[in-house]
């Protein structure tokens, strides 16, 4: 969290009432959204309503024992984050307090009233300037780089509030984040740290149409419902259907430069899992530890609810900062429903007029403002960067007709519908192929044609059609049994079964299966199609369907996924399938 608040404290107010995370104060000179310190312990809060003499504050910490009459201090600054080197490989709470620093200060359990800067103010970083004396720089321009992690060069940019101008001084070497590294002739000093209010998008030049996929290594996503770099996606699903595992898979394997993972109102152990796993896992492209490109924000379900409301903003602001450096950033928010519920809880304590299902009337607006911060952009400094946002949604009772799911679907362009029924039978990822969609498909197809295979879209369409046909045939089978179907339809069912079991299913916990590069995805589908084509040829030549499905090469389709040297395996398999079938006629 930003430290600026401590400097210019203005007038004090007095607590009038306390009810859970909502506190009212009288005589407080503060503006809307200003950060304030509440009570004798100085609990951090934010102004959310001003009415006459009464100021209403949401408090980011537990309010037990806080009493009317205690002081409230305003900082005169809105809720901001610290931006600078050191954010990667970090884990923050919802208001950007580093959780490891909090642990050092207060032990295993989170206490309150403790403050800590979002980035280490003591640590020195090797600053390498990219401008020289006499150069002229505008806001947003890069003035130097810092090696933030083994993987990421952190670009130091002129803060947006600056006028810019001619460079007067350049310092090279080791500095703390607050020491000026570049000074302009107009007196403006540029340090490695800057601040930005979380509720305000950072400026850009232009939003563009994204044309590159965010490759996730998950077949059902890349192969069927791809998201673009700069795109938006929602994963709604009932509990236990795979939202978090999918988000973790994306955080691990997506080919973004930077990953911001926001655990919003979910389980403590899930964050611990990331903290323990990511430093050990390697980026499949660079081989560096995954943590070196990752920033974690954790406001677990038992942490204060107001900080849950702010954690998505903290996350997206950090994402924007890396985008400004020209990086492709992917942000996962698990779960946006908890964020919406935090809004609802605060709103009901304010006794605002409730909208649908008790959510505030501004729910839809907040959701779309948030997803609007995603996109592929031309930055102020002319570089290109993107933010992809993937939001999990947790609909009550798994019913997608509820307000958060519906309002989200109106905004996002990729919909990965999780299905309790598939999860129950342990078909993972339990993404329903009939309900899900990606509106990016057409704009991404050229990329897949150029970079993977010319017939990528056609092959995908074949799979989609086969699965469609299967769901129609299943309805008949439910009435008469499979054996009553004509041979060709029985064969289609068999092919569809391989599509589901060998292609769409992907075990996130298997060392090899967990990541499927686009080439593998393409070849696996190709192998099933090769089986399909050869099998139908055999059928036409008069081979009975039972004999076709019984060839012993076919079940090996199910092993493509877990085979390390898949290319060799698939070549051999396709050849065996062909020859075994041809033997029959």
């Amino acid at each position: 969290m930003s430290q600026a608040q401590e400097t210019d404290t203005t007038e004090n107010g007095v607590i009038e009432s306390v009810s859970g995370p909502v506190v009212t104060a009288t005589d407080l000179a503060a503006r809307m959204n200003d950060v304030v310190y509440v009570g004798d312990e100085g609990l951090m809060g934010e102004v959310i309503e001003i009415e006459g003499k009464i100021t209403t504050i949401q408090v980011y910490e537990e309010t037990s024992d806080v009493a009317p009459g205690e002081p409230v201090e305003s900082t005169g600054e809105p809720l901001s984050v610290d931006l600078g080197p050191g954010m990667l490989d970090s884990i923050y709470d919802g208001v950007q307090r580093p959780l490891d620093v909090l642990e050092e200060q207060m032990g295993a359990f989170l206490d309150r009233g403790v403050d800590a800067p979002g980035i280490d103010l003591e640590k020195e970083w090797e600053f390498e300037p990219t401008v020289s004396k006499g150069d002229s720089v505008a806001f947003g321009d890069q003035v130097g780089v810092v090696e933030e992690t083994v993987q990421i060069d952190h670009k130091v940019l002129v803060p947006p509030q600056y006028d810019g101008g001619v460079v007067a001084e350049v310092h090279e070497g080791e500095f703390t984040v607050d020491e000026p590294v570049v000074v302009l002739e107009n007196g403006e000093e540029i340090a490695m740290r800057q601040e930005w209010p979380v509720r305000e998008p950072r400026p850009t030049q232009e939003k563009e149409t994204p044309k590159t996929p965010l490759i996730s290594g998950q077949r059902i996503l890349d192969g069927m419902f791809p998201i673009a770099k700069g795109g938006t996606a929602a994963i709604p699903g009932p509990f236990g259907s795979g939202k978090t595992v999918t988000q973790h898979q994306l955080a691990k394997w997506a080919d973004a430069d930077i990953v911001v993972y926001v655990g919003c109102g979910e389980r403590g152990n899930e964050m611990t899992e990331v903290i323990e796993d990511f430093p050990e896992l390697e980026d499949p492209v660079t081989g560096n530890p995954l943590m070196s490109r990752t920033c974690l924000i954790a406001n677990t379900s038992n942490m204060p609810v107001a900080a849950r409301e702010s954690c998505v903003y903290t996350g997206i602001t950090i994402a924007e900062y890396y985008r400004d450096m020209g990086y492709d950033v992917a942000l996962m928010a698990d779960s946006t429903s908890r964020w919406a519920e935090a809004m609802r809880e605060i709103s009901s304590r304010l006794e605002e007029m409730p909208g649908e299902e008790g959510y505030p009337a501004y729910l839809a607006a907040r959701l779309s403002e948030f997803y609007e911060r995603a996109g592929k952009f031309t930055n102020i400094n002319g570089t290109e960067g993107s933010i992809s946002v993937i939001g999990a949604v947790s609909p009550p009772g798994g019913d997608f007709s509820e307000p958060v799911t519906q309002n989200t679907l109106r905004i996002v362009k990729t919909f990965w519908a999780l299905d309790a029924d598939l999860a129950e039978r342990r078909h993972f990822p339990s993404i329903n192929w009939n309900e899900s969609y990606s509106l990016y498909q057409d704009q991404l197809d050229p990329w897949f044609r150029d970079n993977v295979a010319e017939d990528w879209p056609e092959q995908r369409q074949w799979a989609v059609d086969t699965l469609d046909e299967e769901s129609e045939l299943e309805e008949i089978v439910q009435l008469v049994g499979k054996d009553a179907l004509p041979d060709d339809q029985q064969l289609t069912l068999e092919v569809a079964r391989y599509l589901r079991e060998a292609y769409l299913q992907q075990n996130a916990f298997h060392d090899v299966a967990t990541f499927s590069e686009p080439e593998k995805t393409y070849q696996m589908l190709g192998a099933i199609k090769a089986f399909n084509d050869a099998a139908f040829e055999a059928l036409e030549a008069g081979v009975p369907v039972d004999e076709i499905t019984e060839i012993d090469a076919a079940p090996r389709l199910n092993r493509m996924d877990t085979t390390e040297n898949y290319e060799e395996f698939i070549d051999e398999l396709e050849a065996d399938i062909k020859s075994q079938l041809q033997e029959k006629y």
Partner: protein
């Protein structure tokens, strides 16, 4: 020391409103003395400079405007000591077993603080419950929160007791930490309470247990305190005294009803089906108090039990619970009526921490694959049951018939083990192999080929065919 007020202005359900002229802390404890000398305890729900709203734990009957109100200047605390083991306490922590007064080593606020995720240790130690449907299919690990979703009249208590009795961590060294059970009862009947107490006494488990009893005829509001007392005690034993604590909370449904009652009395805008909008957060503040902490030897494992109103899994109580806990064990009315014990339906059950808690060195190398294959086969067999009712067995292929037989044997041999049978993990997995060997090897597509070579029962496949042919 604290000022006494006789300023009650309103009494409504479990709430009392009183005027004050000095500041009172939010959440602070309150004592109300009725004119005939009874003392009730409560807690501040809202505090302003002129009035406070108080939630009274022991019910408001008998309180009138003449009653006096005293603010104790601190939040509700639980007295803590290792000597609590073996004791039976009321739902608000008072001894009710006729034993000596509790002499606490320390007191802690029952609200509890969140464990910093960086301080947590990811749970991955397999707990063997001896129940195949859990160990084999939905493995429990130390530090997990795994509720039992049940319905009224189903034997969830028997399962909870079986787990409490049989739970061990195999291959644990001599210097292993001790095991303790904390039992938090909320609004259960005397009969149910007896069932637990008798079992604890019969097996000698009471010595290493602490019981918190809020029965059906005890005040409902007290139920909001009971699990917090139980969990504060659990954290103390686990993280100060190095115990592995198993917390059984029953029945969470009664807890949630109490929350709803308080919400209604406060005239809050209700959320889904009349339950408070903050119920997710409230429940999370209980369920998240499970886990392991780096550098501490003990652990808190939670098995909350809830009865789903109308057996409806989408009801807010099971729904919100499922969104917080690390899986669920689902009791099934059909399996129960067929006499299977314990009637666990493995398909909608889930253990999310299973993946890291099983495998080579933890359970057995083939466990994950076997589990996947068993799930897939049972799901397929289950599906076919609907179809067979319509078209008959003869219309099904040989392959389909095999899956049907598998589903039957899965239930009669794997699930139906009885509440007294304790199977170790090898027995459970060997049984699984026996059943899976009904299928030809090529059908076992989720299992590693080496494992098939090692464990597949040759000949069982034909055996199964003969059974079908009969």
């Amino acid at each position: 020391m604290q000022k006494e007020y006789k300023t009650i202005t309103e009494i409504s359900g479990p709430l009392v409103f009183a005027e004050v002229d000095e500041p009172v802390g939010y959440d602070e404890m309150v004592e109300i003395e009725t004119p005939n000398g009874e003392t009730r305890r409560g807690q501040v729900l809202e505090s302003t400079s002129t009035f406070v709203a108080i939630q009274v734990f022991e019910g408001t009957s008998g309180i009138d405007k003449q009653s006096s109100v005293r603010f104790l200047g601190e939040t509700l605390q639980m007295p803590l000591t290792e000597d609590l083991l073996g004791r039976v306490l009321s739902g608000s922590g008072e001894p009710i077993d006729g034993g000596p007064e509790i002499e606490p080593d320390e007191e802690r606020p029952i609200v509890g603080a969140a464990i910093n995720p960086t301080a947590r240790e990811y749970p991955e130690e397999f707990i063997q419950t001896g129940v195949s449907s859990i160990d084999g299919m939905n493995t429990l690990v130390r530090g997990q929160k795994l509720p039992i979703f049940s319905g009224s009249g189903l034997p969830h208590n028997d399962l909870a007791l079986q787990i409490a009795r049989q739970a061990t961590v195999p291959e644990e060294g001599e210097d292993a930490s001790e095991f303790a059970v904390i039992f938090g009862a909320m609004g259960i009947t005397q009969e149910e309470a007896n069932e637990f107490m008798d079992d604890f006494e019969r097996t000698g488990a009471l010595e290493r247990s602490i019981v918190f009893m809020n029965l059906a005829d005890d005040p409902a509001v007290e139920r909001t305190v009971t699990p917090r007392m139980a969990l504060t005690t659990a954290e103390y034993l686990a993280f100060e005294e190095d115990y592995h604590v198993l917390v059984i909370l029953t029945d969470m449904t009664n807890y949630c009803e109490a929350l709803r009652e308080i919400g209604a009395a406060r005239e809050e805008v209700p959320g889904r089906r009349g339950y408070p909008g903050y119920m997710y957060t409230d429940l999370a503040q209980l369920y998240e108090r499970a886990g392991r902490i780096e550098g501490r030897d003990g652990s808190v494992t939670q098995i909350p039990i809830l009865t789903m109103p109308g057996d409806d899994e989408t009801h807010p109580i099971p729904d919100l619970t499922g969104y917080i806990t690390e899986g669920q064990v689902m009791m099934d009315r059909d399996l129960h009526s067929q006499g299977y014990e314990p009637p666990v339906n493995v398909l909608p059950s889930l253990s999310r921490l299973m993946d890291d808690g099983i495998g080579e060195g933890l359970t057995r190398g083939d466990h994950a694959d076997v589990k996947d294959q068993m799930f897939a086969a049972y799901a397929e067999g289950e599906d076919l049951r609907d179809l067979v009712n319509i078209v008959g067995r003869e219309a099904l292929s040989e392959r389909d018939n095999r899956y049907l037989d598998f589903a039957d044997r899965f239930e009669t041999e794997f699930i139906d083990q009885g509440f007294e049978t304790n199977r170790d993990i090898d027995e459970t997995l060997d049984l699984a192999w026996k059943l899976l060997s009904m299928f030809p090897k090529t059908e076992l597509n989720r299992i590693d080929e080496e494992a098939i070579e090692q464990y597949y029962h040759e000949g069982a496949e034909t055996e199964a065919e003969e059974v079908t042919a009969d």
